[in-house]
Symmetry: C2
Subunit: 217 residues, 2 copies
């Protein structure tokens, strides 16, 4: 473990900090995308990208030519944040307005994955992440595609989660105010799948995707 | 304009780049939260936070004691990313799987706002951002609350947007494959507001919030 990285303990609202892998992995696995920050010419750069977790490693990938990835060496210090915004918290005072959220912040050295088998395992995990069944259904990457995609692994041993949930926390002197207080919950939902208009002949949505987009069915 | 910052032109998929304020501001204004990256001890740090835009400035705020904000000086180089994930793009080949998204990446010097009136204008904008009517309904910040909240302004003159939309782009040789291809749209939606259980007497959800959570009503 690198000792150069900052302490991963949550400093502000320490009661919101969580450090167990189950919580951290759960937040990571539920998210489709993350935000990756690196230092370029002594300045910070942050971009969104897709990710997948395998065991205690987070994997991100991008085209060889892509902005941030183009600049990353074999070992690059990065920070990654993954955030689920679960709701707006409306308090009686504006000062105590907040958000309900579950976030993970990761520090680590991103190691470029150069082994073709490890790369392929990441692509397989990315397909499984969409839905079990996608790997078997779609065409798997060929040698050129594997070579032109850069994959980076970040160990998850310097990660922390921060969670806020529940109602607003107002000051006692504001409790009698006639202001509606509570939570406006937010969540990401699927809407109706849109088949590629070029899809000929019409191929029905496979079961593994139907289950994904209608989780209550 | 600082010339030290990287070129904000989109390098990978340049056809997805947008530089007009209307597009950039629209993406910023629709989002509740952003990811802010800074450099600390030569290492990148990224955290989620809430934001609001006023004209050509992005404002972020946090408690004086909060992690990243505690470390930020009066002028700190930062990068901010705001991302809407609009859908998963499922291609016939795994390599061409993608995401539909609208993102903005901003580079700039975060300037600490120390003027109480400018700070109050930001708090007002944050309340209006939730819904017009919230500022008049809730208790506005008092002097101590204004002092213990740090606010930073980032100019939006070095920002770029990147947008992907539409169906998958498969290679010609994959087009006849019997794999379902298309888009699984994602969107953030409100669910039923949850009143604070301590709310006494029962206060009905005000009209300005009812309109927010039921936009189609």
């Amino acid at each position: 473990m690198s000792s150069k990285f900052p302490n991963t303990r949550v400093r502000r609202h320490p009661e919101r900090g969580r450090y167990d892998p189950e919580t951290i992995y759960g937040i990571i696995d539920e998210a489709w995308h993350c935000h990756v920050a690196a230092v370029r010419d002594n300045l910070p750069v942050v971009i969104p990208t897709l990710h997948v977790r395998i065991d205690d490693q987070l994997y991100i990938h991008g085209a060889v030519a892509a902005g941030l990835f183009k600049d990353m060496g074999r070992e690059t210090p990065i920070s990654v944040a993954i955030t689920h915004l679960d709701g707006l918290v409306l308090a009686r005072s504006l000062y105590n307005h907040s958000a309900n959220y579950r976030s993970v912040v990761i520090f680590g050295i991103a190691r470029e994955v150069v082994d073709a088998d490890e790369k392929m395992a990441v692509f397989h995990a990315l397909a499984d992440r969409i839905a079990l069944g996608r790997w078997e259904d779609a065409r798997i990457p060929n040698d050129i595609e594997v070579r032109t995609t850069r994959v980076f692994a970040i160990p998850l041993d310097q990660a922390s989660a921060k969670i806020r949930s529940g109602p607003p926390a107002d000051d006692p002197e504001d409790m009698d105010r006639a202001t509606w207080a509570g939570v406006l919950p937010l969540r990401a939902t699927y809407s109706t799948p849109i088949a590629d208009p070029q899809q000929v002949p019409a191929i029905p949505l496979p079961d593994y995707l139907t289950r994904l987009v209608t989780p209550d069915a």
